[in-house]
């Protein structure tokens, strides 16, 4: 009989304690971020959407070999007279739809500064599959362009952080 009332009491007391905790948190400020209106910068090592610098690249192809999901493709330039390999990229593509965001391409890139590297852009959103493929040719911006199959031309990708918002290259 005593243990019965003891159980009732301890149970009730546990409920009160639980209520007390939730009540206390109610008066503490919220810790969340109102995302679309408030935005956080990732920490510097963050691995966001990939950027590429065609001017710095030596077209060695190490990044393409390092990629576990074969998302990188490139071709080096060829000297039209000597038919010899020129250490410059002819074209360079990155399929962000396949990208693992693992950072292996950035790690293996031998140039200084890196010619392929992860930006801090975490708002990687696409509306079409074609938009997932970023293309570079010499002279293209760091963020790359996407191929528009209808207009048969390259255009700027939509809906991303401007490249200027990304920090200095690692």
């Amino acid at each position: 009989m005593i243990s019965y009332f003891k159980t009732v009491f301890t149970s009730s007391w546990a409920f009160v304690q639980g209520l007390w905790i939730t009540l206390r948190y109610m008066f503490k400020p919220a810790v969340t971020v109102q995302y679309p209106t408030e935005k956080l910068h990732p920490y510097p090592p963050f691995r966001g959407a990939l950027l590429f610098d065609a001017a710095a690249c030596i077209a060695c192809g190490l990044c393409a070999k390092a990629c576990p999901s074969s998302c990188i493709a490139l071709a080096h330039q060829v000297n039209p007279e000597t038919k010899k390999r020129v250490p410059k990229v002819e074209w360079y593509t990155l399929d962000l739809g396949r990208c693992n965001f693992c950072g292996l391409c950035q790690e293996t890139c031998p140039t200084k500064p890196k010619s392929v590297w992860h930006s801090l852009d975490y708002e990687v959103v696409f509306s079409t599959r074609d938009e997932m493929v970023r293309c570079w040719k010499p002279g293209f911006p760091l963020g790359g362009r996407v191929w528009d199959p209808v207009a048969k031309d390259f255009r700027e990708p939509r809906g991303h952080l401007p490249v200027s918002a990304s920090p200095a290259r690692k």
Binding site: L19, T22, K28, V31, T37, E38, L40
Partner: protein, 402 residues
């Protein structure tokens, strides 16, 4: 435009260390303002009626209408008020619940719609629900599926008839008001069972059956826990119960039933628990147990049909809150003598809002019971002890009347 928060993450450690220095973290006391706003929203219409009712009645009479016409118009006005309260309560309570849950969980809740702390969120939600496609599953029993939300909500509206919104302030004064409310509140379960059956979904069916068992069972302790109050007040009329709690012991302890030693507190708690169970809210929300039955009986409802179930749920929460306030918390009586100048409907709605907060507080704190445990708790704990409580009340009454 978005605001750039930079790369410094605000960890809880930092946020809680200096809450008020952060302009965007001033939401801690939101719910306090919420109670005040709730009193205004729910009370305003009622209060106006309280002040202007007599004049309106006189005006109608002066217009040359017959007494029968005046009576009818008067009924319609009161009906409109009650309906307005229920609908406004649906809008308000959903927003408030979302806010309370958010702040309990260290987040913000709705913040965009309408500007200030997302006050218009539920209004926009309602608009969305109104325009939403009304989907009826192919396997559903069509007429029953359409009828179920109506069967659920109609008794809820009707049960509000004798509810006191302040001293002597009710749509209808009934001698057997308490019985009337319990009787009508018990009908809604038919709508829930219909919804579960007619949906043609096994989860809904389980939810509906669970609801039937649960609600019917919890009617008993809910009724019995009020019996001591009825014994002390000596009437089933809510107005009489309300009046019986006016006045103070020793000049400052309110003569509310919740302050009657032992009997009052036990009745109050039992009524509160049974009310939570009646309204299908956590920890007794097994009919719509989200993690088990997806959404229980209203899984297959969408648009306005679905929101009618929600209106019913929040209507019953409001009903239970008003009943708790009227039965145990002194109704329209002020907690201290010098506060008597404040109109009774403010006290009434304020107490009801506080009880509503308690309902929500429970919901966002406790886990959910299992079906059999729920039944065990009802039949093996609540019911016997509410009988004992009635006995104790009898002894107390005998001692008082001696």
């Amino acid at each position: 435009m978005s605001r750039d928060l930079g790369s410094s993450r605000l960890w809880p450690t930092e946020v809680w260390a200096r809450p008020w220095s952060l302009p965007r973290y001033r939401a801690g006391a939101m719910w306090l303002g919420g109670i005040a706003a709730g009193i205004v929203v729910i009370g305003a219409g009622v209060g106006e009626l309280y002040l202007w009712g007599d004049r309106l009645l006189g005006l109608l009479g002066r217009c040359g209408l017959g007494a029968a016409w005046v009576a009818w118009i008067w009924v319609l006005v009161k009906l409109g008020c009650v309906l307005g309260v229920i609908v406004a309560n649906g809008l308000w309570a959903v927003w408030w619940e979302r806010k309370i849950s958010a702040h309990i969980q260290s987040r913000f809740g709705p913040m965009y719609a309408g500007g200030f702390h997302g006050w218009a969120q539920t209004i926009f939600d309602t608009i969305k629900l109104l325009f939403k496609e009304d989907v009826t599953p192919a396997a559903a029993d069509q007429p029953m599926h359409a009828l179920a939300p109506i069967v659920a909500i109609a008794p809820c509206v009707m049960a509000f008839a004798p509810i006191l919104f302040g001293t002597e302030l009710a749509a209808a004064r009934l001698d057997m008001g308490v019985l009337y409310i319990f009787a009508f509140a018990g009908i809604s379960v038919i709508g829930v069972v219909m919804a579960g059956w007619a949906s043609g979904n096994k989860y809904s069916l389980l939810g509906g059956l669970r609801a039937a068992a649960q609600i019917v069972s919890y009617e008993l302790p809910r009724g019995f826990s009020v019996v001591p109050v009825l014994m002390f007040a000596g009437s089933l009329d809510l107005a009489v119960i309300d009046r019986a709690q006016a006045g103070y012991w020793l000049g400052f302890i309110p003569r509310w039933f919740v302050f009657y030693p032992v009997v009052g507190q036990v009745s109050f708690l039992f009524f509160l628990i049974a009310s939570v169970a009646e309204t299908n809210r956590t920890p007794f929300d097994i009919p719509e147990a989200e993690s088990e039955l997806v959404a229980g009986f209203h899984t297959e409802f969408s648009g306005m049909k679905w929101s009618m179930f929600f209106l019913t749920e929040y209507g019953y929460v409001l009903l239970s809150s008003f009943l708790l306030a009227a039965f145990f918390l002194g109704g329209g009586a002020a907690p201290l003598p010098f506060l008597n100048f404040v109109p009774s409907w403010i006290w009434m709605t304020g107490k009801a809002m506080f009880m509503m907060f308690v309902f929500m507080w429970f919901r966002w704190t406790f886990p959910r019971l299992r079906v059999d445990q729920l039944m065990d708790f009802n039949w093996k704990f609540l019911l016997p002890w509410s009988f004992a409580n009635i006995g104790l009340a009898g002894v107390m009454l005998w001692w008082m009347l001696r």
